[in-house]
Symmetry: C4
Subunit: 270 residues, 4 copies
């Protein structure tokens, strides 16, 4: 870090940090450009607009991409540890946000993938000093993290049910009703158990409708399971945070219940 020149340091301050007014101005500009480029691609996908303004949108898209490419290179240049940045979560997103336009030289359709630029807007949380939001996101993530085993078990159960019911429907209803193969029947079963219910494939015979009714009621009831899991975890997360405030004066351990009178680690009075 000592070998970095002044330009690198100044650039780092502007591009990576949010304390100076230049840093903040850069971040806001970046967000505006990202949103504008996503809006441009979305507009370009609409036939009416594409026919009339396609040429301008094409130019615009390349302008945005070249700007983001320069920004990416400057980030690499100014970072104290370019390799670390390039492999970090944000670094990968920054790279993925420019690739689709270059790829479109070979696969024209791929340019629509630049909507993943929207992921860069996650930075908006940091810029606007919305630390509370980041904290909230962390609460949700923690709740998910400490319950992912249970959720995985739940999902495995649902997928097993869906595979078996889908196969049964393939036998009961058959191709006339749209159940042309087991994978397609499993797709129908997922549409049904999640209560989405497109209605593109529907049972026509009484036995099929009976089995479908069972699956619907199952899906209607099973939705309670993730709700229960997440509610419990959010509750625990909440109380964990409340407990963080109580610290033992003897051993500095935190995390004591509100009704605790003695430290549970060293036995000292709180």
């Amino acid at each position: 870090m000592t070998t970095r020149n002044t330009i690198q340091k100044k650039l780092y301050q502007i591009i990576f940090e949010h304390d100076t007014w230049e840093g903040r101005a850069f971040d806001v500009l970046l967000i505006v450009l990202i949103l504008a480029s996503v809006a441009a691609v979305m507009a370009d996908s609409m036939v009416d607009i594409s026919l009339r303004y396609g040429r301008y949108l094409f130019v615009l898209e390349w302008m945005f991409t070249i700007l983001f490419t320069i920004e990416y290179l400057l980030r690499l240049y100014s970072s104290p540890n370019p390799a670390y940045y390039a492999r970090s979560f944000y670094g990968l997103i920054d790279l993925m946000a420019i690739l689709p336009t270059y790829a479109s030289l070979m696969f024209p359709e791929s340019r629509f993938l630049i909507v993943i630029r929207i992921l860069r807007v996650i930075r908006i949380f940091r810029i606007l000093k919305l630390m509370e939001y980041v904290e909230e996101l962390e609460v949700l993530r923690n709740a998910f993290q400490s319950s992912w085993r249970r959720i995985l078990v739940f999902l495995t159960t649902v997928l097993t049910i869906v595979l078996i019911v889908g196969s049964l429907m393939y036998l009961i209803e058959g191709p006339e009703a749209g159940y042309t193969s087991i994978p397609r029947s499993v797709y129908w079963a997922i549409v049904t158990v999640t209560t989405v219910g497109y209605g593109d494939i529907t049972p026509l015979t009484p036995p099929g409708q009976t089995l479908a009714a069972f699956l619907m009621i199952l899906g209607y009831g099973l939705i309670a399971v993730p709700s229960g899991i997440v509610t419990i975890e959010l509750g625990k997360e909440k109380s964990r945070r409340l407990r963080l405030n109580r610290v033992c004066p003897n051993c500095d351990h935190y995390g004591h219940d509100r009704d605790a009178r003695f430290c549970k680690y060293c036995g000292a009075e709180l």
Copy 2:
């Protein structure tokens, strides 16, 4: 307020207050007129009824609007602070409830907007002295208020997913299956992730159906998040209300039930 004459004071009592029998009679009459005018507009939107009774409904609508206009002017006249009333929540609703009919002189269709008159019925809570209802509404509002950051983070996450999956589906399925543009594909993704599932646009190819199945399961699981958030907040709100108010004068313990007469910890009288 001192310069107001007797008529103003009397009018204020009738129109704004609910203590005298005239005040209550006025309020009940108002509710009946509002419901009748909304019913009339709804009826007028049905072709059969409009063809046969359209003339009468037209007259009726203007009668209602003129009555409400007079009422609005009287409110302005009798209010101790007309400017404050005009800018208040109820004042703005009262104004918006009469504008559509006048606007219909230029834009005939706009008259159907008078259904927003229904918002005036919120007053029904006050009239019928249903203060418990208002309190319950406040509990729900508080629960939302103290969790809106978390809900916003959740919504941002969902919208990001929906934008990316929608764009992928536009590439995978294309216009033949109804995914004619990215905005339309995003509309489909919202229909799917919320488990509404109209079925007006549905994936036809196996890769599209696979991606759709992922989105459905995601939506099915994610519904747990707002449920968890609201449940936790309602629980906190509930216990906060029940507990905080009562403190034991002897041992300083709080958390006594509303019907408690003695401290449950030390037995002292509350």
Copy 3:
């Protein structure tokens, strides 16, 4: 009750009570007859079966109805207080369960209403001594009862939203997309906000789809509110039951918290 003869008393024991073996045998027979008669009517509604076996089902239906009529008359005859029985919940259901067949002499279609006989099966809970089930039903009912105000406020809010969004869609989409009147648009809005999503009416224009997307996300998020309300109430109901066990030795009041050391009503030590 003293003036009742022996037959009345014996009949009362068999028909109304469940302690003797005759009483239990009668109840089981009744359940079988009710289920059979409902099944017969459901079968009769299917064209294939009706054409082939309609004659037999017709005879069967009248047989069932005559049996249930005799049973109803015996209940009136043997009851110590016939007027009270006739006006009670079960008495009214027993009457309503036989009327549709007689009404079918004038309105043939009305005979299908005898499916309400199924409500008589609620008795099954009592017969099979499934008191735990009745208790569970009571827990659910109590939870609903103590939160119905909050649920009503929630429903009023949802219906107001649905009325306003429905009217807006009527203006935005119009009859071409199926929004032929405001009531029909409100029906669509209910289909959407509850995440049912039939797809019989769907928005076709971008503005309409945008508004629909908002309504879907709203409905997806709002479902958290009744979940939260019911969860909290069920939790309270649960702890209320646990508290029932602690009784004050001094004043006989029950309902003390688990951590209470003194009676909150009289201050005596527990």
Copy 4:
């Protein structure tokens, strides 16, 4: 068990146990074969693939089935108590997983039922020493077990509503709208109350749409009940597990965290 020869003992170790490397290798091989055979049947159900590779898939299927049959016989042979194994949960699944292919000699379609082989993969939890997953599954199962009475009462209520509303719709809408019989109308009511909403049958008349709207709002609200039940049970299950095991030897207080070394109430060592 003493009369078993060395081969039986060795086989038992490999097939039933997971401690030796042969045992683990056998289990992993088994999982791979099961997944491959399920994938083969799913592929065979797709017309394109079946026409081209049907012959190979046919051979493959018989190979898998013969292998699984040999494995089943070896399990019977090596088990210390064959009759007990044959009647156990896993024993029955192992048998059911080979029957469909043999049955397909008489009923060709039945071979698709071999997807139930997927149930054998439940063993994956045991193999990979994923005991935590099994524990989580147990938590979910316990939560369901201690609330199944309540859930049954809930389901009975929903089914009663569905039967009555379905019959009413049959009378209101009739065959023109697709309500061709009461069972079919009940199927529609289940599709609606669970918020699946295929849209294959939809009400066309205003009275029918009004009743349907009521049913939708009911289903939208009722989903809160299983959510509430499961959340409460999961919460109880959780705290029961965490709390009950640890009791302070000094003051007899229970409810200590798993990482607590001293009583939080009296400071004594646990």
